[in-house]
Symmetry: C2
DNA sequence: TTGTAAGCGTTATCAA
DNA sequence: TTGATAACGCTTACAA
């Protein structure tokens, strides 16, 4: 017991004991067993995170933010990637609960019924990230996908573009894409433009995909004069395709992107985009989670982070 | 005990018991406590990974590979990012050992003496990734940075370039960069070219950095006719700078990169580069670690993964 | 300030 | 096939 005190709260122990313990620790190479500690105290300093994929710079910025904050607060991060499968997410959540994580961060707001049941039954605090859902499991940290898409579309309309194309990832199983489509439609209406379903496309992720969408929308009988790529690296693919074909941007077609990849600013011409708080989402998620865990807050928390339009030469 | 058996090895228990346990589990929402299990058995299914940064697509591909394999083998992944600090790495390793991880994966081969001592004292199996070090802590999985740099430099020499510039990240605290420099020098010698220190540059990471290096090496009194960018996104920055300045690639200067970012293939012109086994490093690391943990192998393991030159229009 | 006793929820071991 | 007992290495609660 004295050793335990000397290690966890040295102030509670005499200088003599403190020194002797330190010496002994050094000598035998003692490494505390947190498993035993956690079992006894029923507290852990491990946070579980589930993301669809790790190898995606959009997620990895958020993960970095989480990791930074946890490190400062002496907590560990467990990561599972679900590969965009809800069943895999559920399995990861179960594994995390079995490890008695102190909190969970989930990348999206859609989960299996069993996952929801387990989480609620466990009482573990949770932060969801995907979008500002009206029915959070517990806490939410995100920006508004709808507002962001609306803002960018309006931006294009104000610049005088009348036939604004919109390309997103498939919306069927993606709340983000749905929100962005909603924002686009709201802006089109608000700007007094006619809605043309022929200007709206859903594409799989990837550079090639963006190039294809570009060609389809500009090769259109009534071509788009601007295209807003609301996802992944689609805009980058389109910009590179314009360079390859010698299409002048923004004269032939203006291009706007959704996410602030470094590279967009270095393309020729640099591409207008949104600055989204990716890193900040991670940081704030970890912060509100730790606040809750350490009893500094209670009840529902919803953090609406700000985005920003970066206007560049492509529009 | 019967419940424990029914849960961990259902075959060892009668069908009746199995059913009753399953029913009870369902009814009370029982979630096994792995902390207790691990304390008792002194086995865990958690692997600790230390990387310098998570928000870097080079690392994240490897992390994805690790994560994929661990998931298939029902293990969990704990990640710590060290921010390129050896002290932070040591702290992360200590935290992992306190959690009694079953194995460690370290991104580099340089560690503090205390970190090395702790690891060896713990007896936990370790995989190191950075480069094929002659003195591994335990197991190593990597490709040869030296061979890869040498191969690319020779490739350029064979194409007829005589003044081949070489740009890498600062080598002082980076074994990878040192190995790559060595490979470059070996190739220059092998090709019978004179070594010119004015053609060798060390730059910090980043797009802007690559652009600057380009200008310095081509603005040179005796300009480079080809540049091999052996790190980060330097080559991308240089390619984009050429586009901005209207410099013809490869006529004015040929460009080669080290890492197979998707984007390099989509630039104008597409950039010659190396295909490095990033994902594979992650996969194999996890595999050799699990082999060791599960007793399928013993002794030192060194896995030398293959790389490949992707020849494109930039050279 | 230090020490004693019990208990956290499992698994290992041995017995029935 | 099932069950009883001890032990894993800590923390909590209380006593000295």
């Amino acid at each position: 017991m004295t050793v335990s005190r000397a290690l966890t709260d040295p102030a509670k122990v005499s200088p003599d004991v403190r020194a002797r313990v330190a010496e002994a620790v050094r000598k035998v190479g003692y490494v505390a067993n947190k498993l035993a500690g956690s079992l006894s105290s029923s507290r852990t300093k491990v946070i579980g995170l589930v993301v669809p994929s790790i190898d995606n710079s959009l997620f990895s910025a958020t993960i970095q933010g989480i990791s930074d904050v946890l490190r400062r607060h002496d907590h560990q991060l467990m990561i599972a990637s679900s590969g965009y499968s809800l069943e895999a997410e559920e399995a990861a959540i179960r594994a995390f609960l079995e490890q008695r994580v102190a909190g969970l961060i989930l990348h999206d707001t859609t989960h299996t019924p069993d996952a929801i049941r387990m989480i609620q039954h466990s009482g573990v605090p949770v932060v969801e990230n995907g979008t500002l859902t009206p029915e959070p499991l517990d806490m939410v940290v995100s920006y508004s996908n709808e507002d962001a898409a609306q803002a960018m579309t309006l931006h294009l309309a104000r610049l005088g573009y009348r036939r604004i194309g919109f390309v997103s990832l498939p919306a069927a199983d993606n709340a983000r894409s749905r929100d962005r489509q909603r924002g686009y439609r709201a802006a089109v209406e608000q700007a007094g433009l006619p809605f043309d379903a022929g200007l709206v496309l859903e594409m799989p992720p990837g550079l090639a995909s963006g190039a294809e969408a570009l060609v389809r929308l500009v090769g259109h009988d009534a071509p788009a004069d601007a295209i807003f790529f609301a996802g992944d690296v689609l805009a980058m693919g389109a910009s590179l395709e314009c360079a390859r074909r010698g299409w002048a941007v923004p004269q032939k077609v203006a291009l706007a992107a959704f996410d602030n990849f470094d590279l967009l600013g270095h393309l020729v011409p640099p591409v207008t985009t949104l600055r989204l708080p990716r890193l900040e989402i991670g940081r704030r998620s970890a912060e509100v989670l730790l606040d809750r865990i350490e009893g500094r807050s209670a009840g529902v928390v919803a953090v609406d982070l700000r985005f920003e339009i970066i206007h560049r030469a492509s529009t």
